[in-house]
Subunit: 219 residues, 2 copies
DNA sequence: ACAAAAGTGTTGGTGTTACACCCATGT
DNA sequence: ACATGGGTGTAACACCAACACTTTTGT
């Protein structure tokens, strides 16, 4: 790094791409955009865009997120940087991928004119570029993370039932969990505070509503 | 991403930076380079350099690694991408950080002319740029990873004693471990195969030598 | 009364921690 | 004989997995 003059070298383009997750209808959804221009015209792809020359990476990711979803204050985490020389056939593009978790209750339309749709993570069309790989990577990261860090709450509204919370885990892990063990563990964790409210939904016993209690960031 | 023409935009420079770890004298060491030119002239910094326009990111990291250490076939993992606009005072530089684990037995000199030295991770000078943050991040990542994934072997020669292995864990975690529990767990894991050899070192009972048995990458 | 989802405990097994002494060698 | 690090087992506890019935509501 010391002996190079960067101006002598051709520079790659740098973009951010976003894997935006939400949960709807007991399914894990990812937001995709239909490409209007080549390459991969007509194909679905992750939302993303170029990083401004004075723009922090995370700011670029947040900007794209807000353009596509209209939502600002959500969980956002850098995932991985993909830089294969041929991943974009036109030119060298290095992309810093992020993933975001969005409560279904906050999903509104984006302001952007591009065609956007939510697809099941488990059933979506083949994507442009290496975006299938990026989605797989995001899913794997999220599955690991949810075992240790309480990120599931980022996909729920402020108040939720234990069954809803369990469904978040089940949909992400793509497996079923034991109801009694799940409730025992989650209640023992101290992450939840019971509101004194219930929610009545259908002709059966109403469910108790809980909220997430923010952690001391034991630093 | 669809409606921009990248050529209209100024592009950032992209570099890779490496946190190269090894273990010597029961201490965790990191390789640093003394900067010969501004900015931060005379300061110590992580080895790194620009990514070639047609060069994969990992290839750039491996190239730097080999230039500095003369070693090729080691553990290398992408860490995080740092892109604060002002992290390099001269211009916009986005750096993709990697970390590498190097067996102390393979440490030779680099071919590069720059002044390089191994420093204790727990006692090193303040570094140039945001490199202190990168080292901290690498250490944190490695500490998490070693709990789940057998990366400790990447810091040892092919044959090693259980005490040496335990010292690797202790130096990385910066804590002491119980000898009996450590041996019980590591032997039960099936990661080790006993060679039938021992090593005699000092006036005490010789230690049994083990090798790492490569895992099925359960894909 | 019945259909539907909410809610609730116990048991066996597995893994983790804490802890102290004998062994093989060189001098 | 002693100094040095190598090597070994057990008991208490915490955590995890398996498993079935009762409760509350709307119709």
């Amino acid at each position: 790094m010391t002996k190079y003059d960067s101006s002598k070298y051709e520079k790659p383009s740098v973009t951010v791409d976003l894997v935006i997750f939400t949960i709807q209808e007991r399914d894990l959804k990812v937001l995709l955009i239909r490409r209007g221009i080549p390459p991969f015209q007509g194909k679905w792809a992750l939302p993303g865009g170029f990083v401004g020359i004075k723009e922090p990476l995370e700011a670029a990711a947040l900007r794209e997120l807000e353009e596509e979803t209209g939502v600002g204050d959500v969980y956002l985490e850098q995932l991985y940087t993909f830089g294969e020389p041929k991943r974009d056939p036109r030119m060298r593009v290095i992309t810093v991928a992020y993933y975001a978790l969005l409560p279904w209750s906050e999903v509104v339309g984006g302001t952007d004119a591009r065609e956007a749709r939510w697809f099941s993570v488990y059933d979506h069309p083949k994507l442009a570029f290496d975006h299938d790989k990026i989605v797989d990577y995001a899913l794997e990261r999220m599955r690991n993370k949810i075992m240790y860090v309480p990120i599931a709450f980022q996909l729920l509204p402020e108040k939720f039932t234990l069954t809803e919370l369990q469904q978040v885990y089940e949909v992400i892990l793509n497996s079923t969990l034991d109801k009694r063990n799940f409730r025992k563990k989650i209640l023992a964790s101290g992450l939840l505070k019971g509101t004194r409210q219930t929610r009545l939904e259908g002709r059966h016993r109403p469910a108790a509503l809980y909220t997430f209690v923010p952690q001391d960031l034991g630093a």
